[in-house]
Symmetry: C2
Subunit: 647 residues, 2 copies
């Protein structure tokens, strides 16, 4: 089985792009077309543009007032005015009017004094050409107003029309075809609900949206099955069409159903198989016999995006002679260690926001299949091939996926997950000045660590201390003795055992978790829910190794509930809201306080003030109650040590 | 006449925007609509989006290989393999396949050793869940995947489809109508050639292109004449239509034909008349009786753009709940003094590029009518209302109109103008890595000053020294003794008197310039052409005050030629190319060397190397010759002191 991997002899991204540029003849691939100037926004000029008319085409009044001969006003002084006769010495003009023949200056209406009859008085001389827009001041006919290969802006359109240019020769748009493949993928157009083993094909639409944002014209075919002849026919058909680039989604690696390379070899010549970047490695480039570009795009969504943005986008820009907009960059402090395997560049998506005086970047989960790591990221970092990764607190260069100014509107939350936190995120986006809640779910203990390290604006925590029967404060005293903290309750919530509908395994007490026919799904170490579980196991006299599945960890209540829903586990500990969302049964075990833990240093931050105002609003508390499994008696109130569920 | 100005009681831009926000009810103005998820790029969610399906909906193989029960492999060791039977202990899987029931790990194909029959051997244990994408790992059904008011990215579209969301509720697009006004403006749709007193209306199309770039839907009506009833009818019609915002182009000031305010007062209530910013001051905001926004957009193109970008764009973003992308910013050194009138913020457009280690910004001409100051600018600076301007070399914060990375591709040229420089600019844009030539025309002496100050990469110069009969070097010795310089010839060019076709004033020698019936048009002080003129006047024994029009200055050869073409002058001194371009007659007076003057410090700059390679190419020299009035015997050659026209 080993031989299948030999195809992937990776090259750096820059070399992959360069090989494609050398193999393509862009003048032959992409023609020139004529478009109406006023519809040419974003198009790229194919030739220099020469002005047909001057602007203005005449000497024009630049102010409302009177046109005069400057030399007829030279004697005017304060207290010794010059008198001008209408029609002879002056003519009234509005801004934009042509200067009457012989006149060479305009006096603003404010400086003109009415005299007897039609005469006017001036008390100051006019300089030649004052308040006059001279012929060709802006544009001179026959001059080059735009060079070739200029991407036309809104301003350029104004200049074109002003210069009497109504049509402009531009490079044709790059056309690209995307062929999704796979027996398991469902065409989204049929609005499917995937069965096990199936997924809804979405990469083609990410591709299409990206291509449009590059100014290109995408076409997406329906999915092609994992069948060599079908794929070959689809690619051949696309090569016969108008597209200069044909992309095949998935199947570019070396699996037993990966036919992309074989098909590309039949229809052209392989340029690159494998780029030295993770995710994105199984990218494939080839040139077809008719000179068009063939691209094998990896199937995982994050890998696909890297192939599209790092390899395809520069090639489309080069073909179309347009400038590829660069991402803004900032330096940020890394909230967590970021290990990386040496030998290959790695791209890591980051949640980025301002915390105090600096930007903080929290690495998002790195699976190539995690499309939400794309949607949640404000930026990305590149770890070079020769690096083993970055330590916590390292300063990292971040390519931003959002304008830099937006980072000031981001609230970085690190800590425990709760559905109310998601609700809070939605409400923050509804404020007059919307704010974005960026949440990194690392459990309550992880949140406190982040506060200690100064990498979060606040943390959600529900840590129960059995000894004092208090929440959070005993842990703050132990782990954050140096940090002044404000604790505000978000809600009291109900934790319990989540089981399948009807409770088929008849689970009713902690002791049932020790049964050999019960498979448990646990939360990760440091999660408040795990600490709660351990407390209740201890109380019930059960050792962790007696619980089947104790070692299987999930990071959120919802993930635990999904395991139960799908039968991957019989039971897990979680909140009522998660059980309810998926229609599962819930055996209440405990009530607990979920608090917002806020360093005093950030307590007056406008984003925190906005968040607390929201939490204290009646509407928000009603929304919490509507979820079920929550109590809002303490919501929005400042908490004090020792109060437990009494606040 | 004075009372007409009282309308303009200016308010700061931020206050103008705030007044409009307070006067508008955005929920009532802008509805919600449902669109297909895959067509929702750039749209803004009206509600939080809840996942319909999990992703994956099943435990999925994350690698090609075999699915196993992890506990059946625990005994495997190097040299002591475990044997697995096909269909019983393992199942072959490709990436994305559903894990067979009971299996909980995947072993990569590379680590599987084939044994007898269908059996395989493993030499290492598999951990539970290794190489498995677990149910809901990416998205859990019922969880909120996007909040309200999120501008949808390409990635978001992928997430929506993956979560089984095929339609999404979004805020409607903002619709805007623009009504151009003015008796003098010509509808560009009729492809007019303007007569004196007329201009081609272009602001509506700048507006439309900007509005599209904001994600809004613009509608432009044909121009309305300067007539109060016609304007009122047009505005009333637009208010009855679908647009939430109705803009009137020009007529928002206080001239005798400015009816916009009066019409807005009839149809609604004035909110703001006059914003404290130059250009852009005569902007007008009102709220119509039906709650829609009325905007009076100034008529000058630069004023209009400031009104549209600084006032209207934030309001459209606010209405549509989208984030307004912020411009990237850099700090640049100011190439020239930038005086400004205190009392009002001033926006100045700048040519910006990297020179040596820093960014340099050269102010572009500031007329509100100069649309080319928009197209030529890479950035803009804002001079606060309380400032009298900025000194040369001041560090100025620049809002970029182009990505920051582009500034490294900009060649800043300050110096004399020549048509070959424009040609060079066009050719530089045709290079494999296109470069942008940004040219500030301040004359040869101005160019040498810029080199002394380090604000230009190179300067074009054609300074003739009568004493030595040499070009440029005598001036370099005098004005730039400290700077090591490389001088490369661009071309020898022909200077002469430019006169109307047929030479109606019968001008044949310098002595004719002293005739009272001859009106001359001069170049600005410091221009090489002006120095040449002064030399020839002196040789002919003519004093400057004997030349009518000696004080009237233009900054380019083309501008001089336009004055002659339109009869604004009888004669000017300039290059043959300018006369030829406009079909004028040319009386040769002198041949001169136009050189590229390059500080040694920049001689190895990749941009300069590319420029010199271009100048030395045969094709480029042929293109110069085709212009007429040039000789290329020295083009591209390094010049030495004392050689004059011999090189």
């Amino acid at each position: 089985m080993d031989e299948r991997n030999i195809y992937l002899t990776t090259v750096p991204v820059a070399e992959a792009v360069e090989r494609a540029r050398k193999a393509l003849n862009r003048d032959a691939l992409l023609g020139v077309e004529t478009v109406a100037a006023h519809e040419a926004l974003g198009r790229v000029t194919a030739r220099p543009v020469i002005a047909r008319c001057s602007s203005p085409t005449f000497h024009a009044a630049a102010m409302d007032g009177i046109a005069v001969r400057a030399d007829s006003t030279f004697a005017a002084r304060d207290g010794s005015p010059v008198t001008l006769r209408k029609g002879v010495d002056y003519v009234e003009v509005n801004t934009g009017n042509s200067l009457p023949s012989g006149m060479d200056a305009v006096v603003m209406v404010e400086h003109v004094v009415r005299a007897d009859g039609d005469a006017v008085l001036l008390e100051a001389p006019a300089f030649p050409w004052q308040h006059v827009r001279r012929i060709g001041e802006d544009i001179v006919a026959t001059e080059m107003i735009l060079p070739q290969n200029q991407t036309l802006s809104a301003y350029d359109i104004g200049a074109l029309l002003s210069a009497g240019i109504f049509e402009v020769e531009v490079h044709a748009r790059v056309r690209l075809t995307f062929i999704p493949t796979g027996d398991e993928v469902l065409d989204f157009r049929s609005r499917p609900t995937p069965a096990p083993g199936q997924v809804i094909e979405s990469n083609s639409q990410v591709f299409a949206a990206l291509a449009r944002s590059w100014g290109a014209e995408p076409v997406c075919t329906p999915p092609t099955p994992d069948d060599r002849e079908s794929l070959k026919a689809a690619v051949a058909r696309a090569l016969d069409g108008e597209s200069q680039i044909v992309c095949v989604g998935a199947g570019s690696s070396a699996g037993s159903k990966d036919y992309t390379r074989a098909v590309f070899e039949e229809l052209g010549q392989i340029l690159v198989h494998g780029i030295a970047i993770m995710p994105g490695k199984p990218s494939l480039l080839a040139v077809a016999e008719n000179g068009k570009l063939l691209v094998g795009v990896p199937g995982y969504p994050v890998s696909a995006v890297i192939c599209l943005e790092d390899v395809l986008a520069p090639l489309v820009a080069w073909l179309s002679r347009s400038t590829r907009p660069a991402r803004p960059e900032v330096t940020a402090r890394l909230a967590r260690k970021l290990p990386s395997r040496p030998g290959m560049e790695e791209v890591v998506r980051l949640a980025v926001g301002r915390v105090g005086q600096e930007f903080v970047a929290a690495p998002l989960p790195r699976g190539a299949g995690l499309i939400t790591s794309l949607t949640k990221a404000q930026g990305l970092a590149r770890i070079p091939a020769d690096s083993e990764g970055l330590e916590q607190d390292a300063r990292v260069r971040v390519e931003l996926l959002t304008p830099r100014a937006n980072l000031d509107r981001v609230l970085v939350h690190i800590g425990s997950h709760d559905n109310v936190i998601d609700m809070l995120g939605n409400e923050l986006m509804g404020l007059p000045e919307p704010m974005q809640l960026v949440s990194s779910h690392v459990g309550s203990m992880g949140g406190l660590s982040a506060l200690r390290d100064g990498t979060a604006l606040f943390a959600g925590s529900h840590l129960f201390d059995p000894e004092t029967e208090d929440f959070n404060f005993p842990f703050l005293v132990r782990y954050l003795p140096e940090v002044e903290i404000l604790v505000v309750n978000l809600a009291i919530r109900h934790q319990g055992l989540i089981v399948a509908p009807g409770n088929p395994k008849n689970i009713s007490a902690m002791s049932d978790l020790a049964r050999t026919d019960v498979l448990f799904i646990n939360r990760q170490k440091g999660a408040g829910t795990r600490i709660l579980l351990d407390h209740h196991l201890k109380t019930a006299g059960i050792r962790p190794d007696e619980v089947r599945g104790y070692d299987r960890e999930e990071f959120t209540h919802m993930a635990v509930a999904v395991n139960v829903l799908t039968g991957a586990a019989d039971c897990g500990l979680g909140i009522y809201a998660a059980a309810k969302a998926l229609g599962l049964d819930f055996l209440p075990l405990a009530r607990e306080r979920y608090d917002l833990v806020i360093p005093r240093a950030h307590a007056e931050d406008p984003r925190i003030l906005a968040l607390l105002e929201l939490v204290r609003s009646e509407k928000f508390q009603k929304d919490i109650q509507a979820l079920g499994g929550y109590e809002t008696t303490l919501t929005g109130r400042k908490m004090h040590p020792g109060a437990g569920l009494g606040g």
